[in-house]
Every structure is written in C-alpha cells, then in structure tokens.
Amino acid sequence: MRFVFKTAYTQDLGLFRDSVQRNAYLALLVGLIALPKLVPDYFVDVTLVFIYGLCGLSLMTLAGYTGLVSLGHAAFLGIGAYAHVFFVHDWHLPWVLSVALAAVITAAAGVLVGLPALRMTGVYLSIATLAFALIIQEVFTRWDHVTGGLKGKAVDKPVIFGISFANDVAFYFLCLAALIGALWLTANVLRSPTGRAWVAIRDSEIAAQSMGVNLAVYKTTAFAYSAALMGVAGALFAHKIGFLAPDIFTVLLSIQFLLMVVVGGLGSLHGAVYGAVFVAMVPVVISQARDAVPAWAATLAGPLGKPAAATAFQAVDRFVKQPGLEPGIFGLILVLFILFEPLGIYGRWTKIKLYFSLFPLYKRATFRRQRAYMRSERLR
C-alpha cells in the first residue's frame, strides 16, 4: 500500500493524488486521442459513450452525491436538445451561444422541478420527476412549431466559429472535450463547499440542516447543475442522432440513465463513466451476440446429431431475435447488480485493488454496509 507524504498545501489542492495517478490519466487521454486512428470502425460508438458520460455525470451529481433520485432525466436531455436545435436552426444563433442558452433553459427547468423537491424525499421525488418527464414528452409532441411534433426535426452538423464539425473524427473530439470539461468542473465543484453540502444532504438531511446547510438552496443548486449538464449533453446528443422526435426521450431512457449510475457505482465520478461505457456498449454486444449465439447453440447440440443441431439453431435464433429482449436484459443486469454488487463496477474495482494492496490481510467486512431496519418514510 502506498501512502502519499504531503509536504505542501498545493498537494492537497491538486486534482490528482500524486504523479502516478496523474500520469495514468494522461496516458488514458493520449489513448483516447489516438483512438480514431487505432479503431476507425468503432470510434463512432465511443462518441456515444462520451455523451452518455455527460448524462451519467449529471445524474451522478444529483442521485449519487445529493441523494435525489430522478426518474425524469430524459426530459432534461430532450429540453436541451430541442432548445439547442431551435436556437441554431430557427434563430441562427452561434453554436456556442446556443449551447449556453440551452444549458440555461434546462437549468431553469431543473429549478422548476427542484422546487417541489424541497418538500419531498425518496420515492415522492422519483414520482414527481417521472410525472414531469411524462408532461414534457407530451409538450414535445404538441408544441409543433418549435419541436416539429411527431414529424420530428432534422439536425445539421455543428459549425463552431466557422469550423465545421461535420466529420466524425472532429465530432469525436468535440464530445471528448465536452466530457473532460464537465468532469473537471464537476470534480472541482464536488470539492468546493457546494459539493460538500450536497454530500452532507445525501448522508443525512437532518444532520446537514443542523450544521447550517441551507437545504432549499443546495437542493435547488444540485438540480440546476445537473440539469445544465444534461442540457449540454442534449445539444451534443441532438447532433449525434441527427434527428429529434418526441419518442426518443421516454421514461425508458431515464431508466437507462439510472441504470448507468447504479451499474457504474453510486457516488463516484469514475462510476458515471464506467456506467456510460457499459450502457453504450451493451446494445452493441447484444446485436453481435444475436448473430453468434445460435451458432454456438448448434455447436453445443452438435454431438446429438445434425437434426438436433439444426433445431437448436432455429430455436435459439428465434429466441434471440425477439425485439422485447433488450429491455429485459437491461432489467436483469440492473437486478443482478443491486443484489450482488450495490457499489457497482467502481466498487468492484476498488475491492479488487484493495485486495491486492493488502494482499494477505484483506477482509470482506471492510465493505459491509450497516443495514437500517427502521424504514418508515412517515417519520422523516
């Protein structure tokens, strides 16, 4: 186990723990910059990972750090996307200004949802955000001179300061820059008094209030910050998919964001990124598996003779081609993670790391969580 011997205040102020950590992140950055050259076929999917990473970051500040679980984040994404497209296309505003305006508008929407949140906890809040998302989806459908209604709205490629980002590689770097900027900002906000107040609210509202944290202000700020990030993500998302329609921003998308945060690991910025990688990659893996799995089944049934292999191939093929399978797999993954690894991928990673650094002395109980048997929401 390594301990950092701190000799100056700048070491405490620095973003990274030591030079080893900093170099590891730098290596990762170099790898990401080289990625479009290395895997020219797949980096377009990685762009989606960056955008999902922004969404995960947004929900992570709200759910993972402030403890407010939102089931309506797809609505914020939609507001950001539509606002941005409206400003760029209909008002012909510059791209940067438009994104900033979209972020401001989503932040305002966040405050609007956050206000009732001041009086609610837990499940009530999830339901309120869910209701909000359903209302917003209806608004997208009906307000057709802005949103294009059910016909949808086509989105052009971004042009920033006269430079076109039409090319996939350029857009990849744009998204990468946005994600790094957001990560840097969030990491710093979380170390500031605001971030500390959020974590205090998550751990115990009553304790936070007793220590002088203004619940109303900080909860609203958390909502606004999270929504603003979602707005930026929405703007990029609009360019990524190239076509907006109200049925993209459904409750299922919100649940996918929540899945991202839970699978990645609640309460860590790494978790948001891991979750994004996971959620963006699973559909790719599923679609690959759809082609591969029937063949495996046939090979497995091979020793039983040719007709058995053919039947197995057809049966499995019919099964995996079901359109309803994908949400089911997502649900299954979510359930398995909550049952067996509530800390998510990041939690598993820290456990593995600790196991090796403490090698013979690792104790399972290090990560045991205290269970609370007093559950009534009536007293809170």
Binding site: P116, V123, L134, Q322, L334, V335, I338
Partner: protein, 265 residues
Amino acid sequence: MLIYKATELVNFAQGDLMMLGAFTCYMFVVWYGVGYWAAFALALVLVALFGAALDAAVLRRVIGQPQFAVVMLTIGLGAIFRSAASITWGSEIYTLPTPFSAKATRVAGVTVSHEYVAIIAGTVVLCAVLYVFFTHTRVGVAMQAASQNQLAAYYMGIPVKRMFSLIWAISAGVAAIAGVLLAPVSLIDINLGFIGLKAFAAAVLGGFGSIPGALVGGVTIGLIELLSGAYLPQGFKDVAAYVVLLVVLAVRPQGMFGTVARKKV
C-alpha cells in the same frame, strides 16, 4: 385503484404484475377454455404465488438496504416481466371476453356499461376488504408493524420474513385483480403496465399509507381526466393527471389524507 401502500412498499413493478395477471387470465379463458370466474381465480392465485416467490428469491436480499435499492430493483424486475411477456405472448393486442361485455344499464338517465360497473364494484369491495384487513386483523396490523420497523416488529415476535412474503403475495394478487378488471376496458398488451403510473398519481393525491385516501385520489384523478378531456384542448387529457400530481406534491406532499410527521432528533 390498486393502491397498496399501507405497507410502504413502493413497487414500480406493480403495473407489470397487473399485466401478468391480465395475460394469465386471458391465457386460461381463450387458450384452455376455462370459465371466466375460474380463470380469474387461477390468475389471482398464480400471480400471488409468483409475488411470494419473487419476495423469497429476490426482494428478501435487499431488506435493510436503502429504499432506493428497492425502487431500482422493482424497476428492473418490471422490465424483465415486460420482456418475458412479449416473448411468451407476443406483442399483439388481445381482448378479453367477459360475462359483462357489451351489456349496459341505464342508471338515472346515464348509460353505464357493465364493464365499468364491474370495475367500480370490484374496486370498492377490494378497498373495503383491504382497509378492514389492515386495521382490524392481527395479521394486517402485524404487516403494518413489520413494514414500519422491521427490527422492533421482530422483537415483538412477528415473523417478519413471512410477513413480507405475504405482503408481496397480496400485493401481486391485488395487481392481478386490477389487471383482470381493467383488461376488457383497455385491451391487453405488454404496455398495460404503464397505467400503473397513473395509479401512483392516485396514491400520491390521496396520500400514501391511507387506503380511503387512495380511493378518493383515484376517483379525483379519473374525474380530472374526464373533465380536462371535455373542456381543455386536445392533449391535456393525458397529462392532466400528472400536472395535478406535480402540483399536489409541491403544495401538500403528504396528500389529502396523509399524516404529517417529522422526525425528532
């Protein structure tokens, strides 16, 4: 309509259990030619057993973890159920033939079809039974105790684990009844479960943890939907319930009949 929050178990899979109930009933009636009432009972029992099994296999593990875990778990389970239903029954839309179909009575000048009468009667009876069960029987009170404070209930000699299985069984059974009652009105397909979201609106409006409140809330939501469909521009009908829900949550989060309590430190 299917409010079951005396136990404070928030179940986002409720709507999907409802769908399972409706499909099971349909399967017995149409595929195996069982009578409507027998199929109803079978669906009820099967889904209730399923609920108990679900608790024993999955939900018991998260006892003592934050409520967030339970919420996420039920969301995940709901997705699995929907997907499983679409694989077994396909994504077509079915209609359930019932003894009440296509009959109507005129009551005080208003024509009411028998399907709606069945729903209303079923709801009232169900709520009455549940209310009495939770406030006047030993098991019901024990359930409330178990859901409020598991440890204290355990010390008092309540078999908490068995209570939870029972709670889930009843909850699933009620969902199945709701699904079967609703099936003739709103056709069966795998998205029946989303109606469950409106049930949440009703529950919140009336106040969680209050069964008469849930009933009043349900009626209010229904009325608001009808009236906004009639008097407001198109499109408001679908969202009116949610708008009301948001307003109620902002103004009076404990609902119309909820009790106000604050934790004392």
